[in-house]
């Protein structure tokens, strides 16, 4: 047996049946099982692996909480327990959503605050009011986490405002040094903001085109995607972008990949930059029929969702 593995086994050997080591080992065991279950059944719609996975998460969170209860980690006198446990719970709750990163970060401080408050209200698994000296401190901690949550929320609100629509993207490239609220940590060129703006404008354009159309119309539009490309090139937004982003040596392309009946189409919005070195940036979007079971009389409409931007340097793919 190799040395680090031996150490790990030593660390995780429970001193008594009821201890955090048991829970952590249980979670590792469950994860191994979930992995095994997901390899056996290739469909990711299977409920068993997901269920086991969730159990593993719960075991791990409780085990980690317990471990931190016995051996607290500190940085500059700040207890790391609620922060780390809050992050774990937040990941566990929101990992399956499409915009999971944002949801996890948004809910992290609030959950961390609850991790402080809830154990303080119980003594030996019985509800009890904390001591009078503790009470104002608990309120202080809760309010502090609430304030941090508000700051995080404010950050995401600003991001929404920045990308609200194509014409109003002036803030993204503007000089923000006179602002009393925000700072730009990276220069716009490092962030590839131009790519984001253009592809975002294209996404909005398609979204507006598809919105309120029946699924048949949407399919028809997709089959004649060159028309949409053309319309976009003639749109005021595109003219605005051409003027605004002066290195006007770029074009947009839309590529369609047909998937199954359920998953609909995949749309690859790509931006080709013909500078000193040619490169391509892609955004993958899904167009699928929205299965609104609530009213069958209504026409089947389309659902349009996009993933984040991917950078593909250099090569141009064959079309």
């Amino acid at each position: 047996m190799s040395n680090p593995l031996k150490k790990l086994v030593n660390l995780l050997t429970p001193p008594q049946p009821l201890s955090w080591q048991t829970l952590i080992s249980l979670s590792l065991f469950s994860w191994a099982f979930a992995l095994f279950a997901s390899t056996v059944s290739d469909s990711d719609r299977m409920i068993a692996p997901r269920l086991i996975n969730n159990f593993a998460f719960v075991f791990f969170i409780v085990g980690f909480f317990w471990f931190q209860q016995e051996k607290r980690w500190h940085i500059l006198g700040i207890k790391l327990q609620p922060i780390l446990v809050g992050l774990l719970i937040s990941i566990w709750l929101f990992k399956d959503y499409s915009n999971s990163f944002e949801l996890i970060i948004r809910h992290w401080p609030i959950i961390a605050g609850l991790v402080v408050i809830i154990p303080a209200l119980f003594k030996q698994f019985k509800f009890s009011i904390p001591s009078p000296e503790q009470r104002p401190q608990l309120i202080m901690v809760l309010c502090l986490y609430l304030l941090i949550a508000c700051w995080v929320n404010f950050y995401f609100l600003l991001q929404q405002w920045l990308f609200r629509d194509a014409q109003d993207n002036k803030y993204l490239t503007a000089n923000l040094s006179s602002s009393l609220f925000v700072v730009r940590l990276l220069p716009p060129t490092l962030e590839n903001l131009n790519e984001k703006i253009i592809l975002n404008a294209l996404e909005n354009f398609i979204q507006n085109r598809i919105k309120n159309e029946s699924w048949e119309t949407v399919e028809f539009l997709i089959k004649n995607i060159e028309n949409i490309e053309l319309q976009f090139r003639q749109s005021p937004v595109y003219k605005f972008l051409q003027n605004e982003i002066e290195e006007s040596s770029w074009t947009v392309e839309i590529e369609i990949v047909k998937l199954t009946e359920v998953t609909g189409y995949e749309m690859i919005l790509s931006l080709i930059w013909k500078g000193a070195e040619e490169y391509r940036v892609e955004k993958r979007c899904q167009v699928k029929p929205s299965n609104d079971i609530s009213d069958r009389s209504a026409k089947l409409s389309a659902e349009f969702t996009c993933a984040n931007i991917q950078m593909i340097k250099g090569k141009r793919r064959n079309r």
Binding site: F101, E102, S128, I129, P132, R135, P136, Q137, I139, M140, C143, L144, L146, L147, A149, C150, W151, N153, F154, Y155, L157, L158, Q159, W161, L162, F163, D168, Y171, L172, A174, L176, S178, S179, L180, F181, V182, V183, R184, L185, L186, E191, L193, K196, N200, N308
Partner: protein
């Protein structure tokens, strides 16, 4: 979509203002209400943090109700520090609203803290209460309210002064 445009200045300013307000208000509580040092500091911290976080939440809740043109004005102000003329009057009005709502939130927290101090699950014997000397009158609640108002006004005056100095050249 995420950029590196972060409200860092807002966070730093708010932290500074919170520190100023806590320092001023805790000294008011200590000086005029004769609370112990630690209690007055605890109270000031809890009241200020509560007022700021609830004000933020009210802002987030009310934002969708605001008319779109005013929202764009707000965006101009936040990102570019540009204020159109009618908006300047609105800002003065808003400062008043923030002042009043902050004050009422602080009163609310003060009441909660005082209630929490006495709270207990066990039935209390009134022996201790009765054994208190009669002549040592309790401070009237009116005086407490007045001290909170003084502290709040004083801290906000200092914050306004700091803001005026910061924006002097712009």
């Amino acid at each position: 979509m995420i950029t590196s445009i972060v409200p860092l200045k807002a966070i730093l300013f708010q932290t500074l203002f919170l520190l100023v307000a806590i320092a001023v208000e805790s000294s008011f509580l200590y000086e005029f209400l004769k609370y112990p040092r630690k209690t007055s500091l605890d109270y000031a911290i809890a009241m200020n943090l509560f007022a700021t976080s609830i004000s933020w939440m009210l802002f987030f809740a009310l934002l969708p109700l605001i008319h779109e043109s005013i929202q764009t004005e707000l965006m101009d102000f936040i990102f570019l520090n540009q204020l159109s003329n009618p908006f300047q009057i609105l800002i003065t009005f808003l400062i008043l609203v923030v002042f009043m709502s902050g004050l009422s939130l602080k009163f609310l927290m003060f009441i909660i803290l005082q209630k929490l101090e006495k709270l207990s699950l066990e039935p209390t014997t009134d022996l201790y209460e009765k054994s208190k000397p009669i002549f040592k009158k309790k401070l009237k609640p009116k005086i407490k309210n007045r001290v909170i108002i003084w502290g709040h006004s004083c801290s906000h005056a200092i914050i306004l002064l700091i803001l005026a100095i910061v924006t002097w050249n712009q």
